[in-house]
Symmetry: C2
Subunit: 323 residues, 2 copies
């Protein structure tokens, strides 16, 4: 019997590391996850990871053949196959590709989470068939992956596509990167919290958000309040969409994408965030682009998107490297 | 005797149309130019153009063989081979590739002036061998061409790379595109004029520029005044470089280029413009890019750069299309 080829997608997070065995159409054949244990060396993680993988792969070996491994990880460098000083892991610089090849001598590719997410959309999601689009993950920060002419945009050093670190407000909010005014300090789950607090300080409007501390406040609280008619919460969404839409118009001038794909907690707020984003995108577009740029919500299941993206990375590599 | 292959580079301007016969190393074998006559149909221009070309090519036919035609033109669409409603020409939409093929049934490619300039730098200029860089022409406006992974960035509709129309000042200066605050209203020959006038209005500083009307003022006047120690003129350069450098830092976050190549009248002001541009680029870069991004001045002769770029376009096409 001919076995079908499958890939292993791995998503390394600060807390958990997920893995999934994925076929070429994006079907998950099996999946599992383990604790990352951020203080331990990377080699230990991969030992535990491949122990777990052997467990889930063994019963499938007769039907499926592993043909490649894709990895999404923070601060991953596609060109070098390394992860370089990830903020949440005590790793330093690690040659991830070499670590994997100790277990399986197969094609291996690594990229950061945002690029993996974009590849997931291109291979298995709403961007299927698109050659030019921008994927934006509105999570704690703003991650973005840019696809140009059917390929990921990595740039000269492998770190291109950092739309979240374009500066949208001169001398604006302090960013984790050390600068001020980055897009992700406004358009992200933590950005909308900061916006809500600014609005609470600025106005005298009644708001249920006045009863929640900064530490306790979540973008879900703001969403719930906005849906219940809270004016401050609604303004927080409007202001967030305004800044995001303006930034997206600049991205269009640079990149001429067919679409933006939005993913992540804040993107799940649906029209609350998309309506103002679309409005300010349109208002700020060069005239030849007006009415032409799609804003799409990711259709990938939130829990699986990261491993699907990692698997998509290696499926994409396998499709362009002659076998 | 084996003939050497040459290409014809054509640069269509609002006033003059230039042509050059160019070998694969960027040597100009022959060149000439004719009046564009902007009110006449495109077909008439190409008739006169190929008459002139026959004149210069005839004595060369024994040694050289024409193998392709590249064209740089305003509002040119690489994908369609068309020029679409160019602002300075009474053409409407014209299929330029078809027009050329009436004379020579050879590979023909067309793109806008800014992209041609980038290709010229990549094939024959200071960006030779680079795979990721951004070419910026500081002329009346700001044109830019982006090279990603060794290829021009055209985007979904062929018009990508409009850095001059990213919005750098909210509700800023009125732009020819109908919007406000575009980079080219600040960083260009006309932008620095507007900046000088703003400074003359704002300060009480003595300046030789106070004796020149807006219509008469040129960026060359501002350059001469700055070199002679005029404070207002020097500030105009500083402010221009500041906005340009900040915008370039955002371009780096998107694209991770190896270098910027500056071309055009204002770029010829040398360190007067480059020093503040470099300073504000560095100040605004993500930390992993600091000290790594080159700012280069084009080395192509100003009068030939446009036809060399057009020739580079078709040389590049010929290098990627199997013969």
């Amino acid at each position: 019997m001919n076995k079908s080829g499958v890939t292993l997608g791995i998503d390394i997070g600060g807390t958990n590391t997920s893995m999934a065995i994925v076929d070429k159409d994006g079907n998950i054949i099996a999946k599992d996850s383990i604790a990352t244990l951020a203080m331990d060396p990377a080699a230990d993680l991969f030992k535990r990871l491949f122990n777990k993988f052997t467990e889930i792969y063994s019963p499938l070996r007769e039907k499926f053949e592993l043909i490649g491994v894709g990895i999404g990880a923070p601060n991953a460098n596609y060109y070098n196959g390394t992860v370089e000083n990830p903020p949440n892991l005590n790793w330093g610089v690690v040659d991830i590709v070499a670590l994997v090849k100790e277990y399986y001598d197969l094609p291996v590719a690594v990229t950061n989470d945002a690029n993996a997410a974009a590849l997931g959309e291109m291979k298995f999601g709403v961007a299927k068939g698109m050659k030019n689009f921008i994927q934006i993950t509105l999570g704690t920060g703003l991650g973005s992956g840019i696809v140009v002419n059917g390929e990921m945009l990595y740039g000269a050093d492998g770190f291109a596509g950092e739309m979240g670190h374009t500066i949208v407000v001169k001398d604006g909010r302090k960013c984790g990167c050390g600068r001020r005014g980055c897009l992700e300090t406004y358009a992200s789950a933590s950005g909308i919290k900061r916006t809500a607090f600014e609005l609470l300080a600025d106005s005298t409007e009644k708001s249920t958000l006045r009863g929640i501390s900064f530490n306790d406040l979540t973008s879900k609280n703001i969403y719930d309040a906005a849906m219940a008619g809270d004016k401050v919460a609604q303004s927080a969404f409007k202001n967030t969409g305004k800044i995001l839409g303006q930034a997206m118009a600049d991205a269009v001038a640079y990149l001429s994408p067919e679409a933006f794909v939005l993913f992540g907690g804040l993107a799940n707020s649906g029209e609350l965030i998309i309506e103002p984003t679309r409005k300010y995108l349109e208002n700020n577009l060069l005239s030849n682009y007006r009415g032409k740029i799609k804003i799409l919500q990711s259709g990938l299941p939130e829990g699986d998107a990261a491993v699907l993206g990692a698997a998509a990375l290696i499926w994409h590599e396998l499709s362009i490297i002659p076998q």
